[in-house]
Symmetry: C2
Subunit: 144 residues, 2 copies
DNA sequence: GGTCTATGTAACCATAGTTGTTACTTTATC
DNA sequence: GATAAAGTAACAACTATGGTTACATAGACC
């Protein structure tokens, strides 16, 4: 049970909004699809709203909706909206700088982690919410 | 303070062994370089030993040493030795399968995470412990 | 205006992961 | 046999996460 499920849930939430095609959707309805508490959903949607990926409306008939077309939202946008900058453990990594290795290893690791992270993020950037939306539809090209 | 520092510390540990060039190094000496407890180091080295990246020797004059040349050990080898398979939160992600979105999103996410993870790992595979070792040496080509 | 509905958010709890630490066993060397 | 080192279990402190309750805020509708 490593890591958190914020990103996974967030993609689910936005995929649900895409699936609903522009109508206002309440946190309660989304929570039923994710099988969790509405507050958990609203917490995530709060971050997604700040990132301008969704818009929120209070009151009767209110709810959440996508701010942009699914084709214009990438998984990287979602990832960055809900995940803090990963530090790959460097925050608790405080080697002894009196040792030649300890003095230099941090910089080396930082460079390596940056490359790995950049590579992963560029892969997320290649997948749009529209791609996810398309995959939600059953694929039955030869249905008769 | 997200995540753990196992990978970062493990790279430090192996870089230290590479720096020591083949001699037996005790967990106490490594712990001094990392600035932590020897047991923490031995825990990591236990995983690294199981992955056959290092060999251990008990008793007087014992300690740890690299099993292969630094050029033959990649950061991906180290990563896989000390990190569990990342699930990106999918373990705690149990959507409602009665919902059309909830029923399909898991597979879609699994595919996306696999691509991102593979991309990151291929970047780690491109960096060897020898590369790290080289970067440990001060670069003063024009020193006079 | 008043009521209803929905978001926004703070506060708290249970659970689990991580690290540091002590203590002990096992094993190799001398 | 004494010593030194790895191997590992057990425990404590700290933190992150997700679920929950409670309440404040704001819009819709009568």
């Amino acid at each position: 049970m490593t890591g958190n499920s914020r990103f996974a849930v967030s993609v689910h939430v936005l995929a649900y909004l895409a699936y609903k095609m522009g109508g206002q959707v309440t946190s309660a309805e989304i929570a039923a699809s994710v099988d969790t508490n509405p507050v958990v959903i609203r917490r995530l949607l709060s971050a997604l709203t700040k990132a301008r990926l969704v818009s929120a409306h209070k009151g009767v008939g209110g709810g959440f909706g996508l701010s942009s077309a699914p084709a214009n939202i990438t998984l990287l946008d979602i990832y960055r909206a809900v995940e803090p900058q990963p530090d790959h453990g460097l925050e608790r990594f405080t080697p002894n700088h009196k040792c030649p290795v300890g003095a230099r290893i941090e910089t080396i690791l930082r460079t390596a982690f940056f490359k790995a992270q950049t590579s992963m993020e560029s892969e997320l950037a290649r997948i749009s919410l529209e791609d996810v939306h398309q995959q939600l539809k059953p694929v039955c090209p030869g249905k008769h």
